[in-house]
């Protein structure tokens, strides 16, 4: 059925393009706005905070302390993390000497089918950010085998760790610079804040389905 339909649809489309003599439009170029490194950080923070993201800038060597603080304040009991990653190993090491009031580390090291109930019951998930976009105020999440997709969407709190020197001017720029067309993974997500909606009388409400809170740690060296 699908094949026959496909054939009929294409017949009509191809017949139409054969007859079409409209000239193709010239694609105008739009200038890319560029920001200085300092402006990039400031703009990212301003835009993300406007979307109710909690942003912390920290020296690269202190980020774990910030993570501990935000978790303790929320009395988080379970933190989902990705073992075998830079962040994962750092967390494991830090937690070895951890005080009792830190959440239990839950490693995402099995398929979701084995881990579903746990993933849906953790208090927080922590992931890296592959970069960020200053123009629109968004993080780039690039899930991998070690850092699966659900980490950043299921838990009510998502903590993202971003290196300041991976902030790009615009989405167009990062797509071109990093040659995304040649290497699109299963999933890439841009995230600009916690989940929200204005579906009820245009009134803003947070944490509809995705995380109620997004915390971004910007690591400066």
């Amino acid at each position: 059925m699908s094949e026959a339909s496909r054939h009929r649809i294409f017949s009509r489309l191809q017949a139409a393009t054969r007859q079409d003599t409209t000239p193709v439009s010239q694609l105008p170029e739009l200038p890319i706005k560029t920001y200085s490194p300092k402006e990039k950080i400031e703009r990212l923070i301003t835009l993300m905070e406007a979307m109710r993201t909690e942003v912390h800038t920290t020296a690269a060597e202190n980020w774990l302390d910030t993570v501990e603080d935000v978790l303790k304040v929320r009395e988080a009991k379970r933190l989902l993390y990705a073992p075998g990653t830079e962040i994962g190993e750092a967390l494991e090491h830090q937690w070895e000497n951890a005080a009792a009031d830190l959440p239990q580390l839950i490693p995402y090291k099995q398929d979701i089918e084995q881990l579903k109930e746990m993933v849906f019951n953790v208090d927080a998930g922590i992931t890296s950010a592959a970069g960020a976009i200053a123009e629109t105020g968004a993080l780039i999440l690039w899930p991998t085998e070690q850092e699966p997709r659900l980490m950043s969407i299921v838990p009510p709190l998502h903590i993202a760790v971003l290196k300041a020197d991976t902030i790009h001017n615009s989405l167009l720029e990062v797509m071109q610079k990093e040659n995304w067309p040649a290497k699109m993974p299963s999933n890439v997500v841009l995230v600009s804040g916690p989940s929200k909606t204005a579906d009820i009388e245009m009134t803003l409400a947070f944490g509809v389905h995705g995380p109620k809170e997004l915390i971004v740690l910007i690591l400066e060296d």
Binding site: E145, A198, I200
Partner: protein, 476 residues
Amino acid sequence: MTNHHPLDFDKNVSRALNDRQLIKNIKSAMATLVSKRKAIFSDAAETERLRTLGNALKKTALSKLPQLLEQLEEKCNQNGIQVHWAETAAEANQLVLDIMKSHGATLLVKGKSMVSEEMELNAFLQKNGIEALETDLGEFIIQLNNERPAHIIVPAIHKNKDQISKIFHDHIPDAPYTEDVAELTAIARKTLRQKFYQADVGLSGVNFAVAETGTLCLVENEGNGRLCTTVPGVHIALMGLEKVVEKLVDLPPLLRLLIGSATGQLVTTYVNMITSARKQGEKDGPKEVHLIILDNGRSKIYADTRRRETLQCIRCGTCLNHCPVYNRIGGHAYGYIYPGPIGKILNPQIEGLRAAGVLASASSLCNACEEVCPVKIQIPDLIRRIRNESYSKDSTCTIEGHGYKRNLAEVLAWKVWQTINTHPLINAAGLKILNVLGMKIPKIGPLKDWIRYRTTPELAKKSLHELIKQHGVDHE
């Protein structure tokens, strides 16, 4: 073609205009959306450049549509996304059902998809014993109340807080009555979380499908879309065949245009780009991804190179927000799934003129929609085209049902108008006769409707032609 109750537009309009709560809710929401769009597109020159680019990108993609669809299919297949083609809504519905059945699934969680509404998918699945649950908050609300969406972007825009509180309380078991928005949201979150967890199949729409990489791009603020497309083992994506774009780098300007126009944001909370199912070694994501590409009359629209412009639409909803008619009658009055200016041109072309041609009369041709359309569709010209074909039996007409409105009275009236206005002496004589009759235009036909709300227009004692002569103006 979908099955519809015959559209009684007059009745719908009358009902809407008399619903004070509806008018109040709609006007308030539209004012907010209009001002948000204005704020996010505050630089007029930049906005104009962006719109020109958006128009060029969509036109170019459409000019290569079959080629891009082939490329999209090839890339998707390479990446393990299964591509299906549906000529009609019925075929598309069957495809969804077949996929559900092949997995023994009875629960489908849905992200927002206007195409699925066009297909009337939920009703079809329900008839076949499958629960299709809307997870977008606005869609969830109206589904509870057994209604259809009233707007392309904000489906429950016609409801205020009180009405929504009552819907929740009446239809969600154990839900306490509350008018607090945060509490209502929390109830929705709790109720739907269970469903995300349980569902075997998730469904989404597609905002843009990139041919170059086989990537499906979706935008949202709530996160339900990501959950629908990542938690269940199977993901079904539905798209109209016009949604394909050529390159990945086409996305940034189109996203800026779509999101700015739809919600007045620089970017949505999430921009989700899906290029394959779960790969070997990955721990989550659906193991199966299906892309169903729907025609449902679009290839016929495509065949007409002028009407093809209709397919440039990126479903931002801003034309609705700026339309003085939509602002006064809301979305349901239009009877078909796409309301507002885009609905006035799309519905007649999909459903045929007999079924939906009347919608093209519901426009004062004020051009507010054209002024803001992010991809510069010349909607008023297309409305005129639909009006032309409604009256013409000419063989150059291409819309189904053309000539359906043709009637002796109107044809004659315009022929008389033509005769009068191509014969200046007859024109002048006619005015003189009316003056003799007492300076009033006869109260027949259209004048009857006019005087229901306005005083009768009066003819001047002397026409401008006569004053010209009197005042010695050169009149060749």
